[in-house]
Symmetry: C2
Subunit: 216 residues, 2 copies
DNA sequence: TTATAAATTTAGACAAGTCTAAATTTTATG
DNA sequence: CATAAAATTTAGACTTGTCTAAATTTATAA
Protein backbone atom coordinates (compact mmCIF):
# COMPACT_ATOMS: atom_id res chain seq x y z
CA UNK A 1 0.00 0.00 0.00
CA UNK A 2 0.88 3.65 0.04
CA UNK A 3 2.45 5.61 2.85
CA UNK A 4 0.75 8.56 4.49
CA UNK A 5 2.97 11.02 2.62
CA UNK A 6 2.27 9.34 -0.72
CA UNK A 7 -1.46 9.47 -0.09
CA UNK A 8 -1.26 13.18 0.66
CA UNK A 9 0.65 13.87 -2.54
CA UNK A 10 -1.84 11.89 -4.62
CA UNK A 11 -4.77 13.69 -3.04
CA UNK A 12 -3.09 17.03 -3.60
CA UNK A 13 -2.34 16.26 -7.25
CA UNK A 14 -5.92 15.15 -7.73
CA UNK A 15 -7.29 18.43 -6.40
CA UNK A 16 -4.89 20.52 -8.45
CA UNK A 17 -5.70 18.48 -11.56
CA UNK A 18 -9.25 19.82 -11.47
CA UNK A 19 -7.95 23.23 -12.55
CA UNK A 20 -5.09 22.37 -14.88
CA UNK A 21 -4.32 19.31 -16.97
CA UNK A 22 -0.71 19.00 -15.80
CA UNK A 23 0.23 19.90 -12.26
CA UNK A 24 3.53 21.68 -11.60
CA UNK A 25 6.05 20.96 -8.88
CA UNK A 26 5.59 24.46 -7.51
CA UNK A 27 1.83 24.11 -7.32
CA UNK A 28 2.22 20.98 -5.24
CA UNK A 29 4.94 22.60 -3.18
CA UNK A 30 2.69 25.54 -2.33
CA UNK A 31 -0.34 23.36 -1.69
CA UNK A 32 1.25 21.01 0.83
CA UNK A 33 3.76 23.45 2.32
CA UNK A 34 6.80 21.46 1.33
CA UNK A 35 9.89 22.64 -0.55
CA UNK A 36 9.96 22.07 -4.29
CA UNK A 37 13.08 19.93 -3.96
CA UNK A 38 11.27 17.56 -1.63
CA UNK A 39 8.33 17.42 -3.99
CA UNK A 40 10.62 16.41 -6.83
CA UNK A 41 11.94 13.52 -4.75
CA UNK A 42 8.45 12.29 -4.01
CA UNK A 43 7.34 12.65 -7.61
CA UNK A 44 10.10 10.26 -8.61
CA UNK A 45 8.88 7.72 -6.07
CA UNK A 46 5.29 8.01 -7.23
CA UNK A 47 6.37 7.72 -10.86
CA UNK A 48 8.36 4.56 -10.01
CA UNK A 49 5.19 3.12 -8.53
CA UNK A 50 3.30 4.15 -11.67
CA UNK A 51 0.85 6.25 -9.73
CA UNK A 52 1.67 9.42 -11.69
CA UNK A 53 2.91 10.34 -15.16
CA UNK A 54 6.04 12.38 -14.70
CA UNK A 55 8.61 13.84 -17.07
CA UNK A 56 11.29 16.11 -15.68
CA UNK A 57 10.36 19.79 -15.80
CA UNK A 58 6.98 18.98 -17.35
CA UNK A 59 4.73 18.53 -14.33
CA UNK A 60 2.62 15.50 -13.49
CA UNK A 61 -0.77 13.89 -13.90
CA UNK A 62 -2.31 10.91 -12.13
CA UNK A 63 -2.37 7.49 -13.74
CA UNK A 64 -5.63 5.56 -13.38
CA UNK A 65 -4.07 3.69 -10.45
CA UNK A 66 -3.06 6.95 -8.80
CA UNK A 67 -6.45 8.50 -9.36
CA UNK A 68 -8.15 5.48 -7.87
CA UNK A 69 -6.18 5.88 -4.66
CA UNK A 70 -6.75 9.64 -4.57
CA UNK A 71 -10.50 9.27 -5.02
CA UNK A 72 -10.63 6.66 -2.31
CA UNK A 73 -8.83 9.00 0.11
CA UNK A 74 -11.28 11.75 -0.79
CA UNK A 75 -14.17 9.36 -0.26
CA UNK A 76 -12.91 8.64 3.23
CA UNK A 77 -12.26 12.30 3.98
CA UNK A 78 -15.76 13.35 3.01
CA UNK A 79 -17.49 10.46 4.72
CA UNK A 80 -15.69 11.21 7.97
CA UNK A 81 -16.57 14.89 7.64
CA UNK A 82 -20.18 13.88 7.21
CA UNK A 83 -19.93 11.66 10.26
CA UNK A 84 -18.38 14.40 12.38
CA UNK A 85 -21.08 16.91 11.46
CA UNK A 86 -24.14 14.66 11.35
CA UNK A 87 -23.38 12.26 14.17
CA UNK A 88 -21.02 14.12 16.48
CA UNK A 89 -22.53 17.59 15.97
CA UNK A 90 -19.39 19.39 14.89
CA UNK A 91 -19.80 22.55 12.84
CA UNK A 92 -18.83 22.53 9.18
CA UNK A 93 -15.84 24.76 9.84
CA UNK A 94 -14.40 22.45 12.49
CA UNK A 95 -14.04 19.14 10.72
CA UNK A 96 -11.37 19.51 8.08
CA UNK A 97 -8.30 18.91 10.23
CA UNK A 98 -9.81 15.87 11.93
CA UNK A 99 -10.82 14.37 8.61
CA UNK A 100 -7.27 14.90 7.34
CA UNK A 101 -6.18 12.35 9.91
CA UNK A 102 -9.14 10.02 9.59
CA UNK A 103 -8.89 9.75 5.81
CA UNK A 104 -5.79 7.59 6.26
CA UNK A 105 -7.49 4.81 8.24
CA UNK A 106 -6.93 1.94 5.88
CA UNK A 107 -9.77 -0.59 6.19
CA UNK A 108 -11.98 -0.62 3.10
CA UNK A 109 -14.62 -2.56 4.98
CA UNK A 110 -14.71 0.16 7.64
CA UNK A 111 -15.36 2.89 5.10
CA UNK A 112 -18.12 0.94 3.44
CA UNK A 113 -19.80 0.20 6.76
CA UNK A 114 -19.50 3.83 7.77
CA UNK A 115 -21.10 4.80 4.47
CA UNK A 116 -23.97 2.39 5.11
CA UNK A 117 -24.34 3.51 8.72
CA UNK A 118 -24.95 7.05 7.55
CA UNK A 119 -27.34 6.07 4.77
CA UNK A 120 -25.00 6.51 1.81
CA UNK A 121 -24.83 10.32 1.83
CA UNK A 122 -24.19 11.93 -1.56
CA UNK A 123 -22.59 15.16 -0.39
CA UNK A 124 -20.36 16.17 2.49
CA UNK A 125 -21.12 19.10 4.82
CA UNK A 126 -19.52 21.55 2.36
CA UNK A 127 -21.52 20.28 -0.58
CA UNK A 128 -18.69 18.28 -2.11
CA UNK A 129 -19.79 14.98 -3.64
CA UNK A 130 -18.85 11.76 -1.84
CA UNK A 131 -17.51 9.06 -4.20
CA UNK A 132 -19.18 5.66 -3.81
CA UNK A 133 -17.21 2.50 -3.08
CA UNK A 134 -16.37 2.21 -6.77
CA UNK A 135 -15.04 5.74 -6.88
CA UNK A 136 -18.01 7.00 -8.86
CA UNK A 137 -19.64 10.34 -8.14
CA UNK A 138 -21.37 13.02 -10.13
CA UNK A 139 -19.78 16.42 -9.90
CA UNK A 140 -22.86 18.59 -9.84
CA UNK A 141 -23.01 21.65 -11.95
CA UNK A 142 -21.90 24.46 -9.70
CA UNK A 143 -21.22 28.09 -10.39
CA UNK A 144 -20.19 31.06 -8.27
CA UNK A 145 -22.96 33.41 -7.23
CA UNK A 146 -20.93 36.12 -8.97
CA UNK A 147 -21.82 34.64 -12.38
CA UNK A 148 -25.56 35.16 -12.19
CA UNK A 149 -27.53 38.35 -12.71
CA UNK A 150 -30.23 40.41 -11.07
CA UNK A 151 -33.45 38.46 -10.44
CA UNK A 152 -31.69 35.16 -11.05
CA UNK A 153 -32.09 32.53 -8.33
CA UNK A 154 -30.10 29.53 -7.20
CA UNK A 155 -29.64 27.08 -4.36
CA UNK A 156 -26.46 27.26 -2.28
CA UNK A 157 -24.71 23.98 -2.98
CA UNK A 158 -21.03 24.36 -2.31
CA UNK A 159 -18.06 26.54 -1.48
CA UNK A 160 -14.84 27.19 -3.32
CA UNK A 161 -12.97 28.34 -0.21
CA UNK A 162 -13.04 25.77 2.60
CA UNK A 163 -11.24 27.89 5.19
CA UNK A 164 -12.81 28.06 8.65
CA UNK A 165 -12.96 31.85 8.41
CA UNK A 166 -15.05 31.81 5.26
CA UNK A 167 -17.29 29.01 6.52
CA UNK A 168 -17.89 30.84 9.79
CA UNK A 169 -18.80 33.98 7.90
CA UNK A 170 -21.31 32.08 5.76
CA UNK A 171 -22.80 30.41 8.82
CA UNK A 172 -23.29 33.77 10.51
CA UNK A 173 -24.99 35.16 7.41
CA UNK A 174 -27.22 32.08 7.19
CA UNK A 175 -25.66 31.34 3.81
CA UNK A 176 -25.70 27.58 4.28
CA UNK A 177 -26.03 24.60 1.98
CA UNK A 178 -29.54 24.16 0.60
CA UNK A 179 -30.71 27.74 1.05
CA UNK A 180 -32.41 29.38 -1.92
CA UNK A 181 -31.12 32.81 -2.88
CA UNK A 182 -32.17 35.47 -5.37
CA UNK A 183 -29.94 38.28 -6.58
CA UNK A 184 -31.80 41.55 -6.08
CA UNK A 185 -29.07 44.05 -6.81
CA UNK A 186 -25.54 44.21 -8.22
CA UNK A 187 -23.28 47.15 -7.50
CA UNK A 188 -21.44 47.85 -10.74
CA UNK A 189 -18.63 49.66 -9.00
CA UNK A 190 -17.31 46.94 -6.66
CA UNK A 191 -19.38 44.01 -7.94
CA UNK A 192 -20.88 43.47 -4.52
CA UNK A 193 -24.34 41.93 -4.52
CA UNK A 194 -27.53 42.02 -2.54
CA UNK A 195 -29.19 38.65 -2.08
CA UNK A 196 -32.65 37.80 -0.95
CA UNK A 197 -32.69 34.75 1.26
CA UNK A 198 -35.71 33.59 3.27
CA UNK A 199 -37.32 37.04 3.16
CA UNK A 200 -34.25 38.88 4.42
CA UNK A 201 -31.61 40.75 2.45
CA UNK A 202 -27.89 40.13 2.66
CA UNK A 203 -25.13 42.20 1.18
CA UNK A 204 -22.07 40.21 0.02
CA UNK A 205 -18.77 41.30 -1.46
CA UNK A 206 -17.45 40.19 -4.82
CA UNK A 207 -15.00 37.91 -3.07
CA UNK A 208 -17.74 36.13 -1.19
CA UNK A 209 -19.82 35.88 -4.37
CA UNK A 210 -16.86 34.25 -6.10
CA UNK A 211 -16.44 31.63 -3.42
CA UNK A 212 -20.07 30.73 -2.84
CA UNK A 213 -21.37 28.14 -5.28
CA UNK A 214 -24.93 27.53 -6.39
CA UNK A 215 -26.97 25.25 -8.60
CA UNK A 216 -29.61 26.87 -10.77
CA UNK B 1 2.82 15.98 21.21
CA UNK B 2 4.00 12.42 20.76
CA UNK B 3 4.71 10.57 17.55
CA UNK B 4 2.89 7.44 16.52
CA UNK B 5 5.85 5.26 17.49
CA UNK B 6 6.16 6.91 20.89
CA UNK B 7 2.46 6.39 21.56
CA UNK B 8 2.79 2.72 20.73
CA UNK B 9 5.72 2.28 23.08
CA UNK B 10 3.88 4.01 25.92
CA UNK B 11 0.79 1.90 25.36
CA UNK B 12 2.91 -1.23 25.26
CA UNK B 13 4.76 -0.33 28.47
CA UNK B 14 1.44 0.41 30.15
CA UNK B 15 0.06 -3.02 29.29
CA UNK B 16 3.23 -4.82 30.36
CA UNK B 17 3.29 -2.83 33.61
CA UNK B 18 0.07 -4.53 34.69
CA UNK B 19 2.00 -7.76 35.20
CA UNK B 20 5.36 -6.59 36.45
CA UNK B 21 6.48 -3.45 38.22
CA UNK B 22 9.43 -2.78 35.92
CA UNK B 23 9.22 -3.63 32.25
CA UNK B 24 12.27 -5.04 30.49
CA UNK B 25 13.66 -4.13 27.10
CA UNK B 26 13.12 -7.67 25.88
CA UNK B 27 9.49 -7.72 26.98
CA UNK B 28 8.84 -4.59 24.96
CA UNK B 29 10.86 -5.96 22.07
CA UNK B 30 8.78 -9.13 21.95
CA UNK B 31 5.52 -7.29 22.41
CA UNK B 32 5.90 -4.82 19.56
CA UNK B 33 7.99 -7.00 17.29
CA UNK B 34 10.98 -4.72 17.22
CA UNK B 35 14.64 -5.52 17.95
CA UNK B 36 15.88 -4.88 21.46
CA UNK B 37 18.48 -2.42 20.14
CA UNK B 38 15.75 -0.30 18.60
CA UNK B 39 13.77 -0.44 21.82
CA UNK B 40 16.76 0.86 23.75
CA UNK B 41 17.00 3.83 21.38
CA UNK B 42 13.36 4.68 21.88
CA UNK B 43 13.57 4.26 25.65
CA UNK B 44 16.25 6.94 25.71
CA UNK B 45 14.01 9.29 23.77
CA UNK B 46 11.04 8.65 26.05
CA UNK B 47 13.24 9.11 29.11
CA UNK B 48 14.50 12.44 27.71
CA UNK B 49 10.88 13.53 27.40
CA UNK B 50 10.28 12.36 30.98
CA UNK B 51 7.55 9.98 29.93
CA UNK B 52 9.30 6.95 31.45
CA UNK B 53 11.72 6.22 34.27
CA UNK B 54 14.71 4.50 32.76
CA UNK B 55 18.07 3.34 34.11
CA UNK B 56 20.33 1.33 31.85
CA UNK B 57 19.88 -2.43 32.20
CA UNK B 58 17.15 -1.95 34.80
CA UNK B 59 13.97 -1.77 32.74
CA UNK B 60 11.41 1.01 32.71
CA UNK B 61 8.20 2.28 34.26
CA UNK B 62 5.87 5.06 33.16
CA UNK B 63 6.00 8.48 34.76
CA UNK B 64 2.62 10.07 35.57
CA UNK B 65 2.91 12.04 32.31
CA UNK B 66 3.65 8.88 30.35
CA UNK B 67 0.81 7.00 31.99
CA UNK B 68 -1.59 9.79 31.20
CA UNK B 69 -0.78 9.56 27.51
CA UNK B 70 -0.97 5.75 27.56
CA UNK B 71 -4.36 5.74 29.24
CA UNK B 72 -5.65 8.29 26.78
CA UNK B 73 -4.54 6.12 23.85
CA UNK B 74 -6.25 3.14 25.47
CA UNK B 75 -9.40 5.20 25.99
CA UNK B 76 -9.45 5.99 22.30
CA UNK B 77 -8.72 2.42 21.30
CA UNK B 78 -11.58 1.03 23.37
CA UNK B 79 -14.07 3.71 22.39
CA UNK B 80 -13.38 3.09 18.71
CA UNK B 81 -13.73 -0.66 19.26
CA UNK B 82 -17.07 -0.03 20.90
CA UNK B 83 -18.08 2.17 17.98
CA UNK B 84 -17.07 -0.43 15.41
CA UNK B 85 -19.03 -3.19 17.14
CA UNK B 86 -22.09 -1.27 18.32
CA UNK B 87 -22.56 1.16 15.44
CA UNK B 88 -20.96 -0.50 12.44
CA UNK B 89 -21.84 -4.09 13.38
CA UNK B 90 -18.35 -5.53 13.30
CA UNK B 91 -17.73 -8.68 15.31
CA UNK B 92 -15.56 -8.50 18.42
CA UNK B 93 -12.78 -10.44 16.75
CA UNK B 94 -12.56 -8.02 13.80
CA UNK B 95 -11.96 -4.66 15.43
CA UNK B 96 -8.53 -4.73 17.01
CA UNK B 97 -6.45 -3.85 13.97
CA UNK B 98 -8.73 -1.01 12.93
CA UNK B 99 -8.71 0.43 16.43
CA UNK B 100 -4.92 0.27 16.41
CA UNK B 101 -5.03 2.89 13.68
CA UNK B 102 -7.91 4.91 15.02
CA UNK B 103 -6.44 5.27 18.50
CA UNK B 104 -3.91 7.71 17.07
CA UNK B 105 -6.44 10.27 15.83
CA UNK B 106 -5.44 13.23 17.92
CA UNK B 107 -8.44 15.45 18.60
CA UNK B 108 -9.49 15.32 22.26
CA UNK B 109 -12.79 16.94 21.41
CA UNK B 110 -13.50 14.18 18.90
CA UNK B 111 -12.96 11.43 21.46
CA UNK B 112 -15.19 13.14 23.99
CA UNK B 113 -17.96 13.63 21.44
CA UNK B 114 -17.65 10.04 20.32
CA UNK B 115 -17.94 8.97 23.95
CA UNK B 116 -21.08 11.07 24.37
CA UNK B 117 -22.53 9.85 21.06
CA UNK B 118 -22.35 6.29 22.30
CA UNK B 119 -23.73 7.07 25.74
CA UNK B 120 -20.50 6.92 27.74
CA UNK B 121 -19.97 3.16 27.59
CA UNK B 122 -18.08 1.67 30.54
CA UNK B 123 -16.65 -1.40 28.84
CA UNK B 124 -15.41 -2.22 25.35
CA UNK B 125 -16.59 -5.27 23.37
CA UNK B 126 -14.04 -7.50 25.09
CA UNK B 127 -15.06 -6.39 28.55
CA UNK B 128 -12.08 -4.08 29.07
CA UNK B 129 -12.93 -0.89 30.96
CA UNK B 130 -13.00 2.39 29.01
CA UNK B 131 -11.22 5.25 30.83
CA UNK B 132 -13.25 8.45 31.09
CA UNK B 133 -11.98 11.78 29.79
CA UNK B 134 -9.97 12.23 33.00
CA UNK B 135 -8.33 8.85 32.59
CA UNK B 136 -10.34 7.32 35.43
CA UNK B 137 -11.75 3.82 35.23
CA UNK B 138 -12.43 1.01 37.64
CA UNK B 139 -10.68 -2.23 36.85
CA UNK B 140 -13.37 -4.67 37.77
CA UNK B 141 -12.51 -7.73 39.74
CA UNK B 142 -11.93 -10.43 37.19
CA UNK B 143 -10.70 -13.97 37.54
CA UNK B 144 -10.15 -16.84 35.14
CA UNK B 145 -12.87 -19.49 35.04
CA UNK B 146 -10.10 -21.94 35.94
CA UNK B 147 -9.93 -20.51 39.49
CA UNK B 148 -13.45 -21.43 40.55
CA UNK B 149 -14.79 -24.77 41.63
CA UNK B 150 -17.68 -27.11 40.95
CA UNK B 151 -21.10 -25.52 41.48
CA UNK B 152 -19.57 -22.03 41.52
CA UNK B 153 -21.11 -19.52 39.15
CA UNK B 154 -19.94 -16.34 37.48
CA UNK B 155 -20.69 -13.90 34.71
CA UNK B 156 -18.41 -13.78 31.68
CA UNK B 157 -16.86 -10.32 31.82
CA UNK B 158 -13.59 -10.34 29.93
CA UNK B 159 -10.89 -12.25 28.11
CA UNK B 160 -7.19 -12.54 28.75
CA UNK B 161 -6.36 -13.53 25.18
CA UNK B 162 -7.62 -11.02 22.60
CA UNK B 163 -6.60 -12.99 19.52
CA UNK B 164 -9.22 -13.38 16.78
CA UNK B 165 -8.89 -17.15 16.98
CA UNK B 166 -9.82 -17.28 20.65
CA UNK B 167 -12.60 -14.74 20.27
CA UNK B 168 -14.09 -16.65 17.36
CA UNK B 169 -13.99 -19.85 19.39
CA UNK B 170 -15.82 -18.19 22.28
CA UNK B 171 -18.39 -16.71 19.92
CA UNK B 172 -19.09 -20.11 18.42
CA UNK B 173 -19.52 -21.64 21.88
CA UNK B 174 -21.82 -18.77 22.91
CA UNK B 175 -19.30 -17.86 25.59
CA UNK B 176 -19.87 -14.13 25.24
CA UNK B 177 -19.70 -11.14 27.58
CA UNK B 178 -22.59 -11.03 30.06
CA UNK B 179 -23.48 -14.73 29.95
CA UNK B 180 -23.91 -16.51 33.28
CA UNK B 181 -22.03 -19.76 33.70
CA UNK B 182 -21.90 -22.49 36.32
CA UNK B 183 -19.14 -25.05 36.67
CA UNK B 184 -20.72 -28.49 36.77
CA UNK B 185 -17.67 -30.67 36.51
CA UNK B 186 -13.89 -30.48 36.62
CA UNK B 187 -11.71 -33.17 35.14
CA UNK B 188 -8.84 -33.63 37.57
CA UNK B 189 -6.59 -35.20 34.94
CA UNK B 190 -6.41 -32.38 32.34
CA UNK B 191 -8.21 -29.66 34.29
CA UNK B 192 -10.82 -29.30 31.58
CA UNK B 193 -14.22 -28.12 32.77
CA UNK B 194 -17.86 -28.56 31.98
CA UNK B 195 -19.90 -25.39 32.17
CA UNK B 196 -23.62 -24.91 32.27
CA UNK B 197 -24.70 -21.91 30.26
CA UNK B 198 -28.29 -21.09 29.42
CA UNK B 199 -29.44 -24.69 29.97
CA UNK B 200 -26.80 -26.22 27.73
CA UNK B 201 -23.49 -27.79 28.66
CA UNK B 202 -20.12 -26.81 27.25
CA UNK B 203 -16.82 -28.56 27.65
CA UNK B 204 -13.79 -26.26 27.77
CA UNK B 205 -10.09 -26.98 28.05
CA UNK B 206 -7.84 -25.70 30.79
CA UNK B 207 -6.35 -23.22 28.35
CA UNK B 208 -9.72 -21.75 27.55
CA UNK B 209 -10.63 -21.66 31.24
CA UNK B 210 -7.44 -19.72 31.91
CA UNK B 211 -8.21 -17.11 29.29
CA UNK B 212 -11.88 -16.58 29.98
CA UNK B 213 -12.54 -14.11 32.78
CA UNK B 214 -15.56 -13.84 35.03
CA UNK B 215 -16.96 -11.75 37.85
CA UNK B 216 -18.54 -13.61 40.72
C1' DT C 1 32.41 -17.70 42.97
C1' DT C 2 33.68 -17.81 38.61
C1' DA C 3 32.48 -19.09 33.92
C1' DT C 4 28.91 -18.96 30.80
C1' DA C 5 24.45 -17.65 29.16
C1' DA C 6 21.06 -14.20 28.66
C1' DA C 7 19.81 -9.51 28.43
C1' DT C 8 20.93 -5.04 27.19
C1' DT C 9 23.39 -1.38 25.13
C1' DT C 10 26.60 0.79 21.77
C1' DA C 11 28.23 1.54 17.17
C1' DG C 12 27.41 2.06 12.64
C1' DA C 13 24.22 1.67 8.82
C1' DC C 14 19.90 2.34 6.18
C1' DA C 15 15.11 4.01 4.26
C1' DA C 16 11.65 7.60 4.25
C1' DG C 17 10.80 12.16 3.92
C1' DT C 18 12.32 16.43 4.55
C1' DC C 19 15.68 20.54 4.09
C1' DT C 20 19.25 24.18 1.94
C1' DA C 21 22.27 25.52 -1.60
C1' DA C 22 23.77 25.05 -6.12
C1' DA C 23 23.05 23.61 -10.87
C1' DT C 24 20.09 23.10 -14.72
C1' DT C 25 16.11 23.76 -17.68
C1' DT C 26 12.22 26.33 -19.21
C1' DT C 27 9.78 30.65 -19.83
C1' DA C 28 9.33 35.28 -20.49
C1' DT C 29 11.01 39.75 -21.96
C1' DG C 30 13.54 43.54 -24.02
C1' DC D 1 16.50 35.64 -30.20
C1' DA D 2 19.47 36.27 -26.49
C1' DT D 3 19.38 36.63 -21.78
C1' DA D 4 17.35 37.36 -17.22
C1' DA D 5 13.92 35.42 -14.25
C1' DA D 6 11.34 31.67 -12.70
C1' DA D 7 10.77 26.88 -12.14
C1' DT D 8 12.71 22.60 -11.39
C1' DT D 9 16.09 19.29 -10.31
C1' DT D 10 20.46 17.55 -8.27
C1' DA D 11 23.62 17.08 -4.48
C1' DG D 12 24.40 16.55 0.04
C1' DA D 13 22.72 16.68 4.68
C1' DC D 14 19.47 15.85 8.70
C1' DT D 15 15.77 13.38 11.71
C1' DT D 16 13.03 9.45 12.96
C1' DG D 17 12.79 4.89 13.65
C1' DT D 18 14.52 0.86 12.41
C1' DC D 19 18.27 -2.85 11.65
C1' DT D 20 22.73 -6.05 12.42
C1' DA D 21 26.87 -7.00 14.68
C1' DA D 22 29.76 -6.35 18.44
C1' DA D 23 30.53 -4.98 23.19
C1' DT D 24 29.03 -4.73 27.83
C1' DT D 25 26.38 -5.78 31.91
C1' DT D 26 23.61 -8.80 34.65
C1' DA D 27 21.94 -13.32 35.91
C1' DT D 28 22.61 -18.26 36.43
C1' DA D 29 24.59 -22.44 37.55
C1' DA D 30 28.29 -25.77 38.24
Amino acid sequence: MSTLAEENYLKCIYHLSLNSENVSTNQISASINTRAASVTDMLKKLADKELINYTRYQGVSLTPAGEKIAVHIIRKHRLWEYFLVEKLDFKWDEVHEMAEEMEHISSMELVDRLDKFMGYPKYDPHGDPIPDSNGQFKKHDLQPVSTIGVNDTGVISGVRDHSPGFLQYLEKQQLTIGKKITVTEINTYDHSMVLEIEDSEIHISREVANNLLITL
